[in-house]
Amino acid sequence: MTKIGAMLGDVTRSLFQRPVTQRYPFERRAAPQRLRGQLHWDPEKCTGCALCNKDCPANAIELITLDKASKRFVMRYHIDRCTYCGQCAQNCRFKCIDMSSEEWELAGLSREPFTVYYGRDEDIQAVLAR
């Protein structure tokens, strides 16, 4: 049975509804808990196995070893190279890597903030001094 204007119902209902568009950035919905946002690394539990580095498809993680015996590592993380796949978090046996569900607005105007160092403060200073 052919009708003329089969979308009439939708169209008339929309006249009385608020547009469904989210007025970002004035309205910002909370992201779900599983969102794969920016990476965070906890140096306390790391053993330096570097599985995160081996399987990263984008070479976004570099694990710099200062001293393997005393477990001093620094992670250099490239926000602009990361594809946010989550393989590193999956690989890490000690759950050192966590993907934030709040930090997902990562655009920037220059490249410097895209290289992030994670680790204990003194270790990071040591790496930067090199």
Binding site: I4, M7, L8, V11, S14, Q17, P19, T21
Partner: protein, 323 residues
């Protein structure tokens, strides 16, 4: 004094600059209505103005192998035709600036000048899309023009005049007697054909085959950029306003305007009635998919022309019985 007043009417208000800005405002309302019907936000109020200013400030690229004078002058002629047609219609509820017997025909043909200019502009055989667009524009012109003209002549028959101001005086008188005296109730078929014919003239969906974005990029306007494109689009906006004014004046009981009278009521009625028509236009546009050019022609020559002939038959019989 008279020359000054005429010049002001021609260049600033209610023609000329005011009409251009009114056209932009109506374009915004139109886009906003469509957006609301599609459950989205739509552009902000200054978007059409920003578009025009941006286009006017960009370089106009004349394609190779085309007559440059023709290319650059056709948009100007189209806009000039549209602005001239505004002289004979009751814009903003005020009496038309000029009026003479038979000006209805002149107005309708001045409105068609835009379509003819588009057809001519697209006849450059180097660009495939322009050529197909021009063919479709002219084919569509031949299909909706006759029913649209007939629909506007329906009120002319009952008013026994071909002069827009006299027709409007008649429809106003009818309207003032009772609301049901509006021609939209006594000639509903004519109203429908006039409204849909206006959609055809303005190449609004579902009759936008000449500008089918997904088939021929932008039809005739593909090769236009900068000033030429701005002028064509301004001409279309002006035609939208003039078309709505004509249909509101004929079928929705006019604007209570008398020669020399100015008043807030007329302006109010003008905006109320033309915006109501714009709302109907937007609704029809949102509901339908684009028709192929052969389907457009088929639709108009089968339904449009037949409906109009029926309407005319009724009118002539009624007039024969009454007179």
């Amino acid at each position: 004094m008279d020359i000054t007043r005429s010049l002001i009417a021609l260049l600033f208000f209610p023609g000329g600059l005011f009409l251009l800005l009114l056209g932009l405002a109506y374009e915004w309302v139109h886009r906003k209505l469509i957006a609301q019907l599609q459950n989205r936000i739509g552009p902000r109020w200054f978007q059409p103005l920003a578009d025009m200013l941006k286009l006017l400030s960009k370089e106009e690229i004349v394609p190779e192998g085309i007559h440059p004078l023709l290319f650059t002058s056709l948009p100007v002629v189209a806009l000039a035709g549209a602005l001239t047609a505004a002289l004979y219609v009751p814009l903003v509820g005020l009496a038309p600036a000029y009026s003479f017997p038979g000006d209805l025909i002149v107005t309708v043909y001045l409105l068609s000048l835009l379509t003819l200019c588009l057809g001519l502009a697209g006849s450059n055989p180097l660009s495939r899309f322009s050529l197909v667009g021009a063919t479709r524009t002219l084919t569509q012109l031949f299909s909706y023009e006759a029913p649209f003209l007939f629909a506007l002549l329906g009120p002319a028959i009952v008013a026994r005049s071909w002069q827009i101001s006299e027709i409007m005086a008649y429809t106003q008188a009818q309207g003032q007697q009772s609301l049901l005296g509006w021609l939209v109730f006594t000639q509903p078929v004519g109203f429908l054909v006039a409204l849909v014919g206006l959609m055809g003239k303005l190449e609004l969906p579902p009759f936008d085959a000449p500008e089918a974005e997904t088939e021929i990029v932008a039809g005739v306007l593909t090769e236009y950029s900068g000033r030429g494109l701005a002028l064509f689009r301004l001409a279309k906006n002006v035609e939208l306003v003039i078309g709505l004014t004509l249909i509101a004046a004929f079928y929705l009981g006019g604007f209570n305007s008398a020669p020399g009278a100015t008043g807030g009521l007329q302006v109010l009625l003008f905006f109320a009635k033309t915006l109501l028509l714009l709302f109907l236009l937007a609704g029809l546009q949102a509901l339908f998919a684009r028709l192929r050019i052969d389907q457009t022609v088929g639709l108009w020559w089968r339904f449009g022309a037949l409906l109009m002939l029926l309407q005319w038959f009724i009118l002539i019989v009624w007039r024969g019985m009454v007179a």
